[in-house]
Amino acid sequence: MHSFGYRLNALLTLGVTTLALMCAMASFSDNFNHPSPSANVQVMNVNWFQKQSSGNDEVSLTLKISADLQSTFTWNTKQVFAFLAAEYETPGNSLNQISLWDSIIPSKERAKFTIHTKNKYRLIDQGSNLRGKEFNLTLHWHVMPKTGKMFADKIVMTGYRLPVDYR
């Protein structure tokens, strides 16, 4: 009962159990954080809007994105992954979500920002439904913890519309 092997085993088990418990408590503490983020997006310019040779519509936008995600950070946060998605409905698809821009926010200080950017990922429809299309721009964020459960939420901004004609 007192051999070296048993003592090592007991020590290791206690160590691992304690570590696991600490990780679980750290993750649990994230539930007490009530974030109050804000965001605002403007479409500064529709750079071009065409039907590709494949028959699918594609549009290029320049966006001004300002957001304050500082309140989503806790002591157990490693980074926040934020992305802006264009969301719209078409006759064929009940939902289309296209990520236009994303960013990894590594610290609380960098979580309040305003940027001008062209869309990072191509906004291509499945089909030719984008003329005059009304769409939402939703800012999603995923809080990635140092350890434990991941949280995600979003702000939906409505009222954007694409031009009626190609340009």
Partner: protein, 180 residues
């Protein structure tokens, strides 16, 4: 040196009944581990409820050696979720984020495009020949939580199998030589 001497002595004094006892105890431990694993598969609804991150394509969020807890629910797949998927013809699952979703009106089926946070381009280069989208059947689960660095044990055992054999050998020796 005294440990080795002690071990050699105890192997010599082994009796058949004791040996069978040890073997059954070992069998019970292995079976319990298997039961826990299968139960986890049922609870999370995923074929592999825990995966180890093998590449750096999701840094700095997930590093090599982290483990991810997966869950697969009937909820629709939406942009931003981190999913684990298999490509036909490859056996290693990939853990990346969904960046585009197109969901059909009539059937509710989805076309999904993924990309690793740390990669410049999307995953179309990884998909099978001619495949442009992932469908629900390719996706094994969503990542809902993670633990850092715990997966290094699995990586070391896979990449240097000698470590696996040494560990199993040591465990076997411990079981055989324990007095009760």
């Amino acid at each position: 040196m005294w440990l080795i001497g002690e071990t050699v002595d105890s192997i010599r004094s082994i009796q058949v009944r004791q040996l069978i006892n040890q073997a059954v105890s070992l069998g019970m431990i292995v079976t319990s581990a298997l039961i826990i694993w299968k139960a986890l598969m049922c609870i999370t609804g995923s074929e592999s409820p825990v995966v180890v991150v093998l590449s750096e394509s999701m840094e700095p969020g997930f590093k090599r050696g982290d483990i991810l807890f997966l869950h697969m629910s009937k909820d629709p797949i939406r942009a931003g979720e981190i999913v684990v998927f298999n490509i036909d013809g490859r056996d290693i699952p990939i853990v990346h984020r969904v960046i585009k979703v197109h969901e059909r009106q009539d059937t509710g089926e989805v076309d999904v495009l993924t990309k690793g946070d740390n990669n410049d381009g999307d995953d179309r280069v990884l998909y099978a020949e001619g495949q442009l989208w992932l469908q629900r059947q390719h996706i094994m689960g969503r990542a809902i939580g993670f633990l850092p660095n715990v997966g290094w044990v699995t990586i070391i055992m896979t990449e240097k199998p000698i470590v696996k054999y040494i560990l199993v050998g040591l465990l076997g020796l411990l079981v055989i030589t324990s007095k009760d």
